[in-house]
Amino acid sequence: MSISSDIASTEAYVPDVPTLDLEEDAVRGSGAGPWRRAWLLMRRDKPTIIAAVVLILVVLSSLSAPLYAEYVAASDPFRSNLSARITIDGKRVKVMQASTEGLGLGVTPIGPTYGTQYFLGADTQGRDVAARLLYGGRNSLLIATSATAICLVLAAIIGITAGFFGGITDQILSRILDILWAFPVYLLAISLSIVLLSHGIVIGPLEITGDSLLLPIVIIGIIYVPYVARPVRGRVMALKRSEFVLAATGLGIPAWRILVNDILPNVSTMLIVFVPLMMALNIITESSLSFLSIGVQAPDASWGTIIQDGQTLLYTRPAVALAPGIAIALTVLSLNVLGDSIRDALDPRTKLA
C-alpha cells in the first residue's frame, strides 16, 4: 500500500488515519472494553468537555431556528422583505435604505440592531440574518452529518470488499479509487454539482430534484470515499495477514465469521475516529460549494450561502459574512477537538492515568 494514501490535500483539512496499534487492538476484538475505557478518558479531558458543550449549543440553537424566527425575529427568513419597515427607538425605518448622499446610488440593508428584530441586520433581500444563520446551521449540520454517514458506509463497503477478497476485485476497486483520488476533490465536487444541479438525479424510482438538499449530501458523501476507503482496505489486508486471522483460517473457521467477529469491529473502531473529523471536513466543503453557489440552492440557507450573500455586502454590512464564518470556525474547531480526543482515547497506548 502506498503510504501516501493517508494524507489528502485540498484547501481543507483532511484528517490523518488514526494510528491505532494494530496487533494489540485487533487481538482484543470487540467487547465493551475499549469503548468504556475511551469514555473514561474523554470524560476527564477538559478541552473535550468544552468542545462537546459548544457543539451541543450549536445544535440546540440550530434546532430552535423556527422558534427564534417566529417569536424573536418575528419575520420569515425565507421571504424577501424589500419594502418592509421596522420600529427602532420609536422611529419607523426602512429595512432597505436607499442612499441619500451625492447621486443617491445604491440601496443598503439595515445593519445590526442588536435588538430582537434584525439582531445582525438584514441581507440583500431584507431578511433577518440572525434567523437565517440559525436555519443555515440546521442545513449545514444536516448535510455534514448525512454526508459523513454516506461516506463512511460506502468507504467501509468498498474498503472491506477490496481488502478482504483481494485479487481481481481489489484490483478493479483500487483502480477506480485511484482515478477518483487523483481527481482534485473540489474539482470533482464542482463538476458533479454543475452536472446534477441542472436536472437532478433520476435512478429508477428514486428522483432527486436539483434544489433538493439530498444533492449536496450525496455529492459531498461521495467525494471523500477514496480517502477513507484506502486506509480501511489497508487495515483489512493487514488484519487478514495477522497471526490470529491466519490461525482462525487454519482452524477452518468460515470467512464470514472472521469478517463479522474480527474484522468488522476493528474497522468500526477506525471509522468512529473518522466521524467528527469527516463532519468537520464536510461542513467546510459544504460551505465552500454553497459559497460558489453550487451547493444549497435559494431560498434555502446554509452557512456557505449566507457568506455568499454577505460577500456582496462585505464593504457596507460585514456582519452578514462574518457571523456565519465564525459559526463555521467554532463548529469545526469543536469537532476537531472532539475528533482528536476520540482518537487518543481509542488509542490503547494512551495511559489511563
Partner: protein, 565 residues
Amino acid sequence: MTMHLKQLTRQAGAMLATCLLAQTALGGVAVAQDRAALMSAHRGGTITLAAVSAAGTVDPMINYTAQFWQIFQMTYDGLVKFKQAGGAEGFEIVPALAEEVPKPTNDGKTYVFKIRKGIKFSNGKEVTPSDVVASFQRIFKIKGPTTGSFYNGIVGADKCIADAASCTLEGGVTGDDAAGTVTINLVAPDAEIFSKLAVPHASIVPADTPLTDAGTTPIPGTGAYMIASYDPNSEMVLKRNPSFKEWSVDAQPDGYADEVVYKFGLTEEAAINAIINGQIDWMFDTPPSDRLPEIGAKYASQVHIDPLAAFWYAPMNTNLAPFDNVKVRQAVNYALDRDALVGLFGGDVLGQPVCQILPPDFPGHVDSCLYTKSPGETWSEPDMEKAQALVDESGTKGQKVTVIAEDNAVARGIGTYIASVLTELGYDASMKAISPNIQFTYIQNTNNNVQISVSQWYQDYPAASNFLNVLLSCSSFNKGSDASINIAGYCNKELDARMKQAMTKALTDQDAANAIWADVDKGFMEQAPIAPLFTPKSVNFTSARLGNYVFNKQNRWIISHSWVK
C-alpha cells in the same frame, strides 16, 4: 422611408438632471468646438479599460456582445454606421465607407452604394468594392450568428445559408471596381436594412481575410485604431491605425489617446479600487452594489448615468404548468413589486419600473401599464389581492416552480425575489443560479423545461421589431433548440400578422408603423407571456483624469471621443 429616427429626448430622474445636462453639454461642446484645437491640446496617452472577463472572438462578423461591439466602433466600419455622437443622435444612420446613404430603387429592393476613395485598411491596402463583396460573402462563409436573422433578406442568402462553402451571393451583392460602386439587392423591401448594415457584423474587411473565425488573431480594419494584440486571459491592446486619416467625424472620429489597453480578469471590486486610485480609466462591468453608495457620494463627478434601450424581464414558459395559464402569468405581473426590483438593481436612480415591452423613448413606445394597482400610464404599486384572486381562479396553487437566474449578484437577487413572490402567491418556489455563460441558452431550450427565468434584452438597433418581433414572434420559437429566443415559447398568430403589417408599414410611414407597434406591445402584455421588470440605466465609473465622456445610445461610451491628457 425615414431612417432618420425621430429625435428622441433624454429623460432622466429629476435628481439626475443636472448631472446629465453637464454631460450632454460637454459632448455637444466638444463636437461644436474646433476639433483640431482640442485634438492638439489633448492628444496622446493611454486609456486603460478593464473587464472581469473578455468577450470571446475578435472576429467582428461573429462576436455578438455589447462589450466588443463598443470596441469595434473604433476599429471597423461598414457601408453605413450609427453616428458616433452623444445621446439619441447615436440612433442616426450616417454613411461610413459609402459616400452617402443611398435612396432605394426598384420598389425599395435595390441600393447602390458609392464607396469612398482613398480609405485604407490598417494593413495599408485600399478599400475596394471587391472587399465589400468578399466581406458580405464572408458573413455567410464563416456562419455568422445573424446570417439567418439580419442578412437572410439579401438575394442569394438562402443558398449561402444552405451551403456556406460555395456562397457567392450572386445577384445579391455585386461590386464594380471601375465605377467604385456596390449594389445590394433584397428579396423584399426592408425598413431596417440600414440598421442591419450598420452593426459590426457587416463590417468591411480585406478580401483576403481567412474564411474561419479569427478567434484571437485580429483582422485589419478601417478604423482609427487597430487591435494590435488580444489575449482573452490578459489584455487587448489597440494602437493607432497607421493608415488612418479622418474621413468622417460622424462615422469614424480620430481618437485622442495613442493607445487603448483593455485588461481582462480584474474583479469588479479590484477595478473600482483601481479607478479610484487612477490606475485604470473605466470598467465595463456594473459596479458592485455595495460600492454604489460610496462612489455615488464621494466620486459623483466621475459617475455617468445614462438611459439604455433595454429591459430586464421574466419570461414565463407558456407551454408549461403553471404558466400555461394566462391568469397565472397575469398574477405574476400584478404581484411583482417593481420598486423592490429597482432597489435590487441599485435604486431609483439606476432603474425605472416598467410593465410593457418597448423601453421608454424607444420607437413605438407609448406609456402604458396594465398590471398595477390602478392601471394607467405608469406603474405605481403591486396589486397582491388581484394576483391572489387570479391564482385562486387558476387552481394551480401548490405547484412546484423553479426560477432560473444568472449567477451574479444582481440576477441572483432578482431571482430570489421572484421566487419569494411566487411562494407568497402559494407556489412551492425555489431559485437556481447558473453560470451567466450558459444561462442564456439554457433557458431557451424547451428540453430543459424552464418554467420562469430572469433575462435581459438590449437592443441591437433602434427598431420596435428588435424587441417585439425578435422576442415574441412565432418564428423565434424553435422547440428543442438552444437558439429559441422566444423564451416564453409564445406564439400568437394574430399578433404575428400585425407585426408583419407594422414592418411593411414602416417602409412608407414610420409613425403609423410605430402606432401599430404600440398596439402590439399592449396586445402581448394582455396575454403576459413575460413579466417586464424595469429599464436599467447604464452606470459608468471613470477615472478622474478622463475627459470628454460621450455616451451614445446605440454603442454606449464612445472611447475615441475621450481623452486622458
